[in-house]
Amino acid sequence: MSKKAKFIEIIERYRGILYKVITIYCTDDDDKKDLEQEILIQIWKSLDKYNDTYAMTTWLYRISMNVAISHYRKTFKTKNRTVSLDAGLFKFTPAPETSERSYEQNVLHKLLSALNEFDKALMFLYLEDKDYEVIADVLGITKTNVATKISRIKNRWKQELTSLKH
């Protein structure tokens, strides 16, 4: 199979992963298009180096998350965005997708948005029900580190949700 055909097959088959990554890191359409292009370019460049011993999904998560984190750092510096949970909930102007979400889904997305780019990747993979081992492999940290960080973030979220109720 030619490289082009393989590339198209991968994008077609695993486009769900890319859409999810792009959605959690970008809110406006221009940003999404930019990030999408960057991810696709990096996948194309890395395709020759893909090793069959890795699961394709793990490989794609690694590439897309690394590109998304870099992209987020670049655009965050440019746009100087800050997000706080309370401010987001009270002044929130929903993008087309968010207007269709339930309250809980909106709250979860706001909790994610408030995280830094690395923790966002961590929690995204956790929510995607990936093993701690896979998460550690994708993000390049130890399994223990993954467990510790996830536990801390969940505890923080729990506190924020409790304070919201009151």
Binding site: S102, Y103, L108, L127, D129
Partner: protein, 203 residues
């Protein structure tokens, strides 16, 4: 909202997102196929109309031949134009009306390719025939309106010759530009369909 439910909440949200993406992609693919069909249909209809108009142009030439019947020289000139148009009609006889709505991507690509090849082969003849016909009709009309005295006046003949050549050149190069533009657009349509094929096996 319970912190232990967050994975389920996330899963529901992502299922909706993936479903919406799939629906949008299907819509886009259908739109792309419709666009390709419409573009090709437009050019096919123009070509079929052109093919039938060739007979009309031949009839115009026959009418002019009738009008200049007393002048054998002009009868021959105008007859050349009529013969050229009849040749053009016969040359384009392989062009047929198609029910494009029933064609899948592959069949549509094949039809576009065949049409492009046919147009590429016949373009040079079409351009020459149009120029020739306009020139011969121009000469015939000039003969009719000048009361049959054209051949007697060298200056007028030279003027006619110059106008005929200019007219021929305009028709030839104008048609060349149009054919090139049509081929570029059809090639883009073919390429677009090829991308659709890569994403989907059949519609």
């Amino acid at each position: 909202m319970d912190i232990d439910d967050i994975k389920n909440i996330w899963k529901q949200d992502m299922n909706v997102l993936e479903h919406r993406v799939r629906v949008n992609e299907e819509k886009i693919k259908t739109l792309e196929l419709n666009k390709a069909t419409t573009t090709f249909d437009k050019f096919l209809k123009i070509s079929l109309a052109g093919k039938n108009m060739a007979l009309v142009y031949a009839l115009i030439s026959f009418f002019i031949i009738y009008k200049v019947w007393d002048s054998p020289f002009f009868v021959i000139i105008v007859s050349l134009g009529a013969a050229a148009m009849i040749f053009s009609f016969l040359q384009h006889s392989p062009l047929k009306k198609l029910d494009l709505g029933k064609l899948g991507i592959v069949a549509l690509q094949e039809e576009i390719y065949k049409f492009r090849m046919h147009t590429a082969k016949t373009a040079i003849y079409d351009m020459t025939i149009v120029g020739l016909w306009m020139a011969t009709v121009g000469v015939g009309v000039f003969q009719i309106f000048s009361g049959g005295e054209v051949a007697m006046n060298l200056a007028k003949v030279s003027a006619i010759g110059f106008v005929v050549c200019a007219w021929f050149a305009v028709a030839y190069f104008g048609a060349r530009h149009i054919y090139k533009d049509i081929d570029v657009k059809l090639k883009e349509t073919e390429d677009g369909l090829e991308q659709l094929r890569a994403y989907k096996s059949d519609i």
